[in-house]
Symmetry: C2
Subunit: 325 residues, 2 copies
């Protein structure tokens, strides 16, 4: 299948690498809103300005859109579904229904297939919430994130006056995780589930107490959490916090039996060295799936919930039954 | 949807309870090869002799076949697919392809839908092997079982002369689990992955040394493992080993990046108080799915790999997108 990438940030770079490692995919090109000559790809695949996309209408099986969820994807994914099979990692949970509807309308009209919100949350975590709740209808779901870098929270710290750079880690509270895993069904506040650890490089002579106070009281981002702030040097930041690790766990605890006497715990967990590269790998697997589904005549917008797992694999149905079942 | 159960052992009893807890399922009856008056159901649902099944041709949406994989299911599932949508938990991994073909032939001819090998392994574990390998093509899979009761191994001990009753636990080796979780990609022999713990009630005056020796050297079942044998009283067995817990983990470790420099660990794990009740809960979720698929005109044999996750849930596609994605 022929893949193209729209947007060449961390995610686009991850997709480039994941396509290279897929046995059945080739990369047609990278499309960017920047001047193409300023963008150098790792694999030497050609870079085009996004205005050239219309020339590739029949040369791309799936276009993977690697834009931001805040402003890029709500515009891009519906617009591009007019001419291409498209895939995105839209992750603003609250507005998924309207994004879905906008993409679905265009894709159905154009006869293309689209899949939104692939990745790990939304994505693999969502799948595990769904499977677990279908299997254990009497139960309770918990999602923990981390330990990992939250890019949005790191950015929020960087916008504070006197801050040169910052890295924020989201960390699950061990006691909360233990209580959930033990099947205790605790009711947990935001503060009881996660803590936030910040590593901040401040300008020389900056008022550190004021920066720390601004971080800890920032509404939505930090005010509802127990937050620790560590001031470090730029050298330490580069040496110790260069990666973009993440992960987490989806846990469902539930019961069966006439008197709910039997407890069960289902846990799906991820430990990822590179959040964008793992997300990219999920995207390429779902690109394969929608490519197969479109060949069977399916169009319109879909999510990870609508994809039969067999479609994600390069193996045949016979091979899967013989070796993976 | 109207469900019927064929076979009323531990699994059939679990299905009865799981159907009761499903918001959208009702139980039509239990079918048995025994004299129906000797079988008393928990929910007072009627019990019929299996010879009466033909009278229920249009009254059952999905027939869940709760028989053994060794001799029952290879006969029953293809035969019953002539008249019903059928579901089984066939778990002899090596002969899944031929069982699939036998069921598929009949189901396609009769226009019914069938799904084989639902449960947790095969079943939920298989799904997780597939998802993880599709997402991380460069990696390695590990499946650990336990700590849990292996019914086949317990039965094998009971057949030894001088043994009154026995319970066998399969236990993953902690060091092996740790090495896998740490991404060390170890190559593990059968002995290095699991140990076997046996609790045996012997007849008065039996030769305990001989029994222990017969267990530890039993080919296929115990000879390849480090096995410990504990002789206990019948009272202790009933008090401490009455449950049928099980569980385990499917772990895939893999890498991404141009130089495979980023490691990732995906783990799916189950801790189950009751193996048959959890398996039954999986069966009822997949019964819902094939019922929906058959209404869309799909027939023939399928596996868990062919089911879009959304079909497992009683919630609508809109509800799933809004609340679970």
């Amino acid at each position: 299948m022929k893949i193209a990438i729209y947007g060449y940030g961390n995610l686009g770079k991850g997709v480039e690498c994941a396509v290279e490692h897929a046995p059945d995919a080739e990369l047609v090109g990278v499309f960017t809103r920047r001047a193409p000559e300023t963008v150098k790809t790792h694999s030497d695949v050609p870079v085009y300005n996004s205005s050239k996309l219309s020339e590739f209408k029949d040369k791309i099986d799936v276009l993977i859109i690697c834009g931001g969820s805040a402003t890029d994807l709500p515009e891009m994914t519906p617009a591009l579904a007019a001419d291409f099979n498209v895939l995105d990692s839209f992750d603003t949970h609250a507005t998924i229904p309207e994004h879905f509807d906008a993409v679905d309308r265009v894709a159905k009209e154009s006869g293309h297939i689209a899949l939104i919100s692939a990745g790990w949350d939304p994505g693999m975590f969502s799948l595990n919430r769904l499977y677990a709740s279908a299997v254990l209808p009497q139960g309770k779901d918990y999602t923990f994130w981390g330990r990992g870098v939250s890019q949005g929270h790191s950015d929020a710290i960087r916008r504070i006056d006197g801050v040169l750079d910052a890295r924020q880690y989201t960390v699950p509270v061990p006691a909360a995780l233990e209580a959930v895993r033990a099947g205790e069904n605790p009711t947990l506040s935001v503060r009881q589930k996660h803590t936030r650890e910040c590593y901040v490089v401040a300008e020389d002579g900056a008022d550190l107490a004021r920066i720390e106070q601004e971080i800890k009281t920032m509404p939505n981002y930090f005010a509802d959490y127990d937050t620790t702030v560590n001031f470090i040097s730029m050298e330490e930041l580069r040496r110790d916090h260069a990666g973009i690790p993440h992960g987490g766990s989806v846990i469902r605890t539930g019961t069966t039996g006439w008197n709910n006497e039997n407890k069960h715990v289902i846990e799906y967990s991820l430990k990822l060295d590179s959040n964008p590269e793992f997300t990219s790998s999920v995207l390429v697997a779902f690109a394969r799936a929608i490519y197969k589904m479109h060949k069977r005549g399916i169009n319109g917008c879909h999510t990870v919930f609508d994809v039969a797992p067999a479609d994600l694999s390069p193996l045949s149905a016979e091979e899967l039954r013989a070796h993976m079942l």
